[in-house]
Amino acid sequence: MNEMRTLPESNTQAILQLRNLKVQRGEREVLNVPWLEVMRGEALTIIGPNGAGKSTLLLTMAALLQPAAGEVIFNGRALNRRWQLQYRRQIGLVFQEPLLLSDSVFNNVAAGLRFRGIAKAEVKRRVNDWLERLNIRHLAKRPARAISGGEAQRANLARSFALQADLLLLDEPFSALDAPSRTALQIDFQRLIAETHQTAVFVTHDLEEAVMLGNRVAVLIEGELRQVGRPDEIFAAPADMGVAAYVGVENILPGVTLAEEDGLVSIALDGFQAEVVGAARRGQRVYVCLRPEDIILQLEGENPRSSARNRLRGRIRRIVSQGALSKVLVDCGFQLTALVTRASMREMGLETGMTVSASFKATAAHLIPRQ
């Protein structure tokens, strides 16, 4: 939340601003966004688990869902019923399912332009241009129901890009596609966004996609906007437990700060004293967050391979294979989860019940205050 408060009160670069937005479904509040800005030219991704309210947020941004309270401000002007249509003609909307009309591909891509009353020649030029850019020019005359899912989603993107809208809103546009189509379209999409400097808000539950496509990431959990920032900021420094758990920080260890000196904090964990780079007062209760890939496992008695400050002994409780990587759960008095490659697994001959040493660097951990 601190991230959001540090943003300036009003920013001339912001194309869309949400203020104190609350959305209700019946009596239940499903969305609470005190502040969110979309900057001109940026790609903002909204991530969060299923049911977090991402689609609700996007529909509210599209003026298709009426908030119970708060404002949606477009180019400095608050949305209201009177100019909603005018606003909707300055944005584009892409859903997960293509929702094409039973008409030709060309007419589908032209539909939004025709709603706007754009001249025939210009419609033709733009439609052909975007069919070309999305590699579906050859399908122009085909009935939309006779093309594949991947092609249909390309047509769907073409009809939104062709609008040359000030803002594109996309709700998981690739998640219904098979893996090869998805990858191909993600790459094309990324390139087109960069080429056209298209401002876009992109909802996804796929972290990799969020990082790949977003200049900034907003994390939505249980209807609340928990953090907004660059992808690396969010992965390295999650704002709270919920975000940490969602972005894959699997080791979240409760502790109490013992001392702080020169930016190095000593923290008492359950039976272990950790040294971590960060800021915390003495006596403060904190969570130490560690990503599993930052935990280094070695066989007992082996010479330390790294200069990691924190080193613990533990017994392997369980090994979960995940293809090329394995998760190793180590009991050090508290549980630590480490990520190990298949090659290392074989080399060290790791097995359940073995005693190993686990280490992590002082810089690998991230501190979150705890109540």
Partner: protein, 230 residues
């Protein structure tokens, strides 16, 4: 058996020779039911659209009213319209009782709920997110509705034909409010009832063949339109 063969034989002769009265009755039937269907469309399409897409508290109630209306017995409609158009009734002064206008009114009351009800189901079969998609693409409400009608054109056409079918074959209401007056309000169905009761089977069969032919053509047109889009 002889009665049937003789009847069919005479009926075909009648049709081939182009009997003026049979022709006039057929034309009136088509006119009355055609106009009634058109008016039902003008009522049913907007009303059905409002009930299918609108969001207001009494919506479900009105849909149940329409569904009940789809099953209105024509004789009950005939009774209701008669009461209103009767000389001493509320609309008696108009002098519409026993005129084609009276039949049209009764047939609209029969067909409009059919067209409305089937319009509702035609539009509700569409993906509800299509509306959001169209609005999100910058469609005004009117533009959105036109696109939805286009998307649902086949079931909407079926609704129209079902409306026409319900009134072209209806006899109770036409008889009661039209009076089956020769040369004025005699339509195919009322004429068939009359000729049968008089034992004039040849004419009755001839008229029935025409009625069946009309029903067949309507269905043929519908089937053709549906196949064309497959």
């Amino acid at each position: 058996m002889e009665l049937i063969w003789e009847g069919i034989h005479k009926a075909i002769q009648l049709l081939i020779s182009g009997d003026d009265e049979v022709f006039a009755i057929t034309r009136l039937s088509l006119q009355v039911s055609g106009v009634a269907t058109l008016i039902s469309l003008l009522i049913g399409l907007p009303l059905g659209t409002l009930l299918a897409l609108g969001e207001f508290p009494t919506r479900r109630f009105w849909i149940s009213v329409i569904n009940t209306g789809m099953a209105l017995p024509p004789v009950v409609v005939g009774l209701g319209v008669s009461i209103f158009l009767w000389r001493s009734g509320p609309l008696g002064r108009l002098g519409w009782m026993y005129t084609p206008t009276a039949i049209i009114i009764a047939q609209v009351i029969i067909a409009a709920p059919v067209v409305t009800g089937l319009t509702i189901s035609a539009l509700q079969q569409l993906n509800p997110r299509l509306r959001l998609q169209l609005l999100g693409m910058g469609a005004s409400t009117a533009q959105m509705i036109v696109v939805l009608w286009k998307e649902a054109r086949l079931p909407l056409l079926a609704a129209l034909m079902a409306g026409f079918g319900s009134v072209i074959s209806e006899v109770g209401a036409s008889m009661m409010v039209g009076g089956n007056l020769r040369g004025e309000t005699r339509v195919l169905t009322t004429a068939i009832v009359l000729e049968t009761s008089r034992g004039m089977f040849a004419i009755a069969i001839a008229l029935s063949l025409i009625l069946l032919w009309i029903a067949y053509l309507v269905n043929l047109a519908l089937t053709w339109l549906q196949q064309r889009h497959e």
